[in-house]
Amino acid sequence: MSFASELHDALQVSNHDASVDAVHRIVINGLRELDPKAKPRQTGYFNHSWAPDLVVGWDTEESDRQLFLRFDVANEGFAREVELLGLDAPIFLGLAPEASPVSRTARGRIVADEITSAAREHQTLVTDSTAVDVFTSEVSIRRDVHAATRAIVRGGHGVVDDNAANEIVSAYERAIGEIEDGRRKGEVRSALDNIEAYLTGRNALVFERELRSRWIGAGGVPEEFPGLESWTLAARTPQEVADLVEALFQQEEDVPEVQWREVISSITANSLGVAFKDRKAVRGGRLNDLARLGQEIWHADWAFAPELPSTPMIDVNDWMLGGNYGLGLALANCEVFFSEDGRRFSQAKSNAQLPVLSQRLAVLDDAAVSGIGLVTPQEDVAISLRESATHTIGALIDELVTEESETWRSALIAEMTIELVSADALVTINFRTRKIRATKPISLRQAALVIARYVAALPNAEMKALERSLG
């Protein structure tokens, strides 16, 4: 059953409250079909002059969009209504287009022009159930049309009736056809113009981002995409760079190293991680290519290394992207995520057991270990080596342990400080939280190796495998 028919039936329900509930439910479902990430909320009002029926929000959009339901959106006084309510660039959805008195008369055309003009001026979308029918029907056939329908819901303006909706979906089809096969820039631009006539300026650019990704994914050169803006990667937002990276991950052709280097120079690992938060998670493969080239250039001063419940047999030493913690690396017994901002890990929890001192004596012989915090049944002990110290922490502990002290044998390591001379930084490992902080940003490669040795306590063979993998 079509959206318009469902609405028609809902409006016939005799009980007012049940009718309104049904109408709102159908509109909410319709909206979600056009834009699955939309989060519409009911206001409790129906066809109210000032209060919207729904407020539509998105996790990734700064502002909500109000949606007003109207029985018809093409009458004489409607342009004035758009002017009165246009402050917040809302959506008007006509429930019963057949109720519209505007005919194909000269006066009707003048009224339609007035409404279109008011809607464009106020960045307001005026649409109706027949247009939604066109969109939902197209989306049910090819999901990628969401790029266009989503753009209309979020940033559409002007009058989008069923004719306009048909124009939009056919232009989208033309654009995608050219992007994937012909790649004739003039044809793509012409199709984009058809669609963007119904989008506000900002949303036209957002819409083009998606199509540019398709262009790149199909093997096109980013700079050659016939967008409204010239393409300079360094001037792109993190989301735009993430779009590009996502497209590069998916494209069939190999990605030249120079392309990855351009990405690395245009975005930090931290920003890339944030931009990928709500995207499909990626692990290994081309991400490894990107991260291997970026590991010396990208820096972090925070890391979180949650312990894995069991040792994975595959994908060890693969890089990971997506999710809450940003760019990460899978080690044999834990994962490591890197950040420039400790708040990224503020909600992160770890139930890891503290390492037993007697099992970590080997690493304590490293000259880099300059401090340690121990927990025994009776006391907390912190040891920091002075600069003038001539022995290692390992040597000091060895003396204590060799005295056959059960207390020291069973002591647990709560904290450890590593001095990275080459980076002129101190790295503090908190074994309770599995959070690691450096006094200044260090390269991801260096951070990964420090964590692999001192937190994950990888044996030498696995350390060598990691180093080989990092390249």
Binding site: S14, D17, R41, Q42, G44, V55, F71, N75
Partner: protein, 252 residues
């Protein structure tokens, strides 16, 4: 306004002997029952006529639509009313059957909110809009308003008979021009209601005008004289925005 069908008289709706409107001989014969459907909701019983073929001429003309929409806008700007339906949007929802078997199509159906502005007060208000620009037209309101009140009485009684209890309908006369200034305060009194019904007996068929219903109805009449500068008395978009933010904060 017409009163085509004469109906047989019935028992009082206030003494508990009310019976369905279709039970009478003539009503049954005229098929009134087929026009009426009982709709029971949580908060009220609403009656709607399902036959949409009745035309009063109100639907035609964009000027009338503009006038009705303006009144809808002003009423809703108070945030005490919601007007989900006008005669231009959904004629069925603004139509009430009368006790004489005919129907009345009002201009709007409004729902009223309690002072907390979030809870419906359970009042359904049927609104008649008069967009009047001349004194001659204004004077016609003397007769028009009387007919409106008698119609309100007839609709109330019809609903009462149909559902067996007080339908609690209210009725509003929203006009752009005053009239009957010397008797203005009498326009919402029980005696005025009774006199209106008396002079429009055809609207109640064979029923008699019951004083208790007239008293109830008098308290449920709204007369709103809308000044020509009402727009300037209405909260502007900025403040409405604040109100909406507050309202939305309660559910967002």
């Amino acid at each position: 306004m017409t009163a085509e069908t004469r109906a047989s008289s019935g028992a009082s709706v206030l003494d508990g002997t009310a019976r369905p409107i279709a039970a009478g001989r003539d009503r049954s014969a005229s098929g009134v029952a087929q026009h009426i459907r009982r709709v029971r909701t949580d908060d009220n019983s609403r009656i709607m006529r399902q036959d949409q073929s009745v035309s009063t001429g109100e639907e035609s003309g964009e000027i009338g639509r503009l006038g009705v929409n303006a009144v809808k806008r002003w009423l809703e700007a108070t945030m005490r009313f919601q007007v989900p339906y006008t005669v231009y949007d959904n004629a069925v929802r603004v139509t009430l059957p009368l006790v004489n078997g005919s129907v009345k199509k009002f201009d709007m159906l409004a729902h009223h909110y309690d002072s907390d502005q979030q809870t419906l007060s359970k009042r359904d208000i049927y609104v008649e809009v008069k967009t009047i620009g001349t004194l001659k037209s204004a004077r016609k309101q003397t007769a028009q308003y009387k007919e409106f009140v008698a119609t309100a009485y007839s609709a109330t009684k019809a609903a009462w008979l149909s559902v067996g209890r007080d339908p609690t309908f209210e009725f509003m006369w929203a006009t752009r021009h005053p009239w009957e200034v010397e008797h203005f305060l009498e326009l919402t009194t029980p005696s005025f209601v009774e006199s209106c019904v008396g002079t429009h007996a055809g609207l109640i068929g064979d029923e008699v005008c019951e004083t208790p219903i007239a008293q109830l109805l008098a308290d449920r009449l709204w007369v709103w004289h809308i000044p020509s500068r009402q727009d300037e008395m209405t909260m502007g978009p900025r403040y409405r925005g604040y109100v909406l933010q507050g309202v939305m904060g309660s559910f967002g």
